[in-house]
């Protein structure tokens, strides 16, 4: 909380204001319980340091905006449309969900729900289909956050009659006119989003916050694996964690690595193997056995046997 803890009052001079007027910023933070959400974000999400810092800044900014409002220091509401870029599995969707909650607690959006869409939900099939479709989605998202995943698909330069452009125009119009009704978050891979913004400069300039999600390090991935296992009510037994560490190191060098998502898939496959192992076991099974993932469950992965050969995401 240290970054927001500006416990002195807002003391900028206001128009015809009593300069001695104070407002308790800490009270705003307490009352909105935004600190709780930020702490939860810190606890539950591994790594992502620049992302967390940016979110803290935004939260602080909104809290200060509220404090200013309490003293009648007029300011137009800040534009909070965002763009999340990063490789697959770096937590863009998860952070978007948290963002909605933070914005809701600080009273920036009224309802705080997230409407998650992709190109299919916005762009129509034939002439005249796109506008109503896009508008319907926008209406559903009002009062909350519209999360557009893989946003670069909206624009297809190879087809000049593509309806995506129409969807973008409507989106831009609503982003501008209904700024206090909804927040739009675009997400996608870095390089493809960059080309998307190059061809849609209007979009780029209307988005105030471009947040880049870094890849996880091997150490962070292991931490993520531990958390996931815990959430699934399993646990690694003695050798399994070392095996997982080696698995991550090996998997990192292979193509199609999708960060946390790959880890989740690897764990899902390990669970399959564990189930199969228990299934074939002639002995009775206790709770401990049901809960533990052991070394062979992870070692059996094709990542180890194939070396650095190209393993598809569907592989073992």
């Amino acid at each position: 909380m240290a970054t927001i803890a500006a416990n002195t009052a807002v003391n900028e001079p206001g128009p015809s204001q009593d300069k001695a007027a104070t407002v308790d910023l800490q009270a705003i933070i307490r009352e909105t319980q935004v600190g709780e959400v930020l702490d939860q974000l810190d606890r539950e999400l591994v790594g992502l340091v620049p992302v967390k810092r940016r979110i803290r800044e935004i939260a602080a900014y909104l809290a200060v905006t509220r404090a200013r409002k309490a003293l009648n220091l007029d300011a137009s509401p800040p534009s909070l449309h965002m763009c999340f870029t990063g490789n697959p599995g770096t937590g863009k969707t998860t952070v978007a969900l948290r963002m909605a909650e933070i914005l809701h607690r600080l009273g920036y959006v009224r309802k705080g729900h997230v409407v998650s869409v992709t190109r299919d939900d916005l762009v129509g099939q034939y002439i005249g289909h796109t506008a109503p479709k896009t508008k319907e989605v926008l209406k559903k998202a009002m009062g909350g956050v519209l999360f557009i995943d893989e946003a670069y698909y909206l624009y297809r330069p190879e087809n000049e009659r593509d309806y995506g452009q129409e969807a973008i125009e409507i989106l831009l119009q609503v982003m501008e006119n209904n700024r206090d009704d909804l927040v739009v978050i675009l997400a996608g891979y870095k390089n493809r989003m960059d080309t998307f913004f190059q061809s849609n400069p209007g979009m780029s300039s209307r988005i105030a916050h471009h947040i880049d999600f870094p890849d996880y390090s091997a150490e962070e991935l292991l931490l993520i694996a531990r958390k996931m296992v815990e959430q699934m009510h399993y646990r690694f037994n003695a050798g399994a964690e070392t095996a997982m560490r080696e698995y991550i190191a090996a998997r990192l060098t292979q193509p199609n690595f999708a960060n946390a998502r790959s880890i989740r898939n690897a764990l899902d496959r390990a669970r399959l193997r564990q189930a199969n192992r228990l299934f074939e076991s002639p002995y009775g099974i206790d709770m401990e056995a049901l809960m533990s993932l052991s070394e062979p469950d992870i070692r059996a992965s094709r990542v180890f046997t194939q070396g650095s050969g190209g393993e598809a995401e569907t592989g073992g």
Binding site: R110, K111, P132, E136, K139, K140, M142, G143, G144, N178
Partner: protein, 144 residues
């Protein structure tokens, strides 16, 4: 006695009250959304009491969370039909209800002449009655 002393159409909710302001309309919409109703916007320039089906302005809006979306649609309808009657309808999709539960007029033409009673004499002294709007003689789109 005058039958239409206020020179106002009185159909649906709140029609004996002064016109609702946008903030009041928004509150009503918010109330409906909380109950899980789907709002829709309808318009007509033929407000005969038996004309229950007005024209739909866009689709009914399901799965909305906030009144801003409905207000946006209403603003669009007012822009297109400034001199028509416009009403908001809330549809309750609960099983075995499945009908309109709220309906109120949010836009009126500047002058509302009302309806006249046409008496038709049939078979001796019997009478048949017809309610006819004073402005309904004109073609569609030129009535108000």
């Amino acid at each position: 006695m005058m039958t239409n002393p206020m020179q106002r159409l009185t159909q649906g909710q709140f029609s004996f009250l002064p016109d609702l302001s946008d903030a009041e309309i928004k509150q009503q919409i918010e109330y409906g959304l909380e109950k899980g109703y789907a709002w829709s916007v309808e318009y007509t320039d033929d407000p005969h009491p038996r004309n229950t089906f007005w024209e739909m302005f866009g689709m009914p809006m399901f799965d909305l969370k906030d009144a801003a979306g409905v207000m946006m649609e209403l603003a669009a309808c007012r822009k297109t039909f400034p001199n028509h009657y416009i009403r908001m309808m809330a549809f309750d999709s609960t099983r075995n209800v499945e009908s309109i539960t709220m309906s109120f007029i949010v836009n009126r033409p500047p002058s509302e002449p009302g309806f006249g009673l046409v008496r038709q004499e049939v078979q001796g002294r019997s009478l048949r009655y017809t309610v006819q709007g004073y402005s309904s003689a004109k073609p569609e789109g030129e009535r108000y």
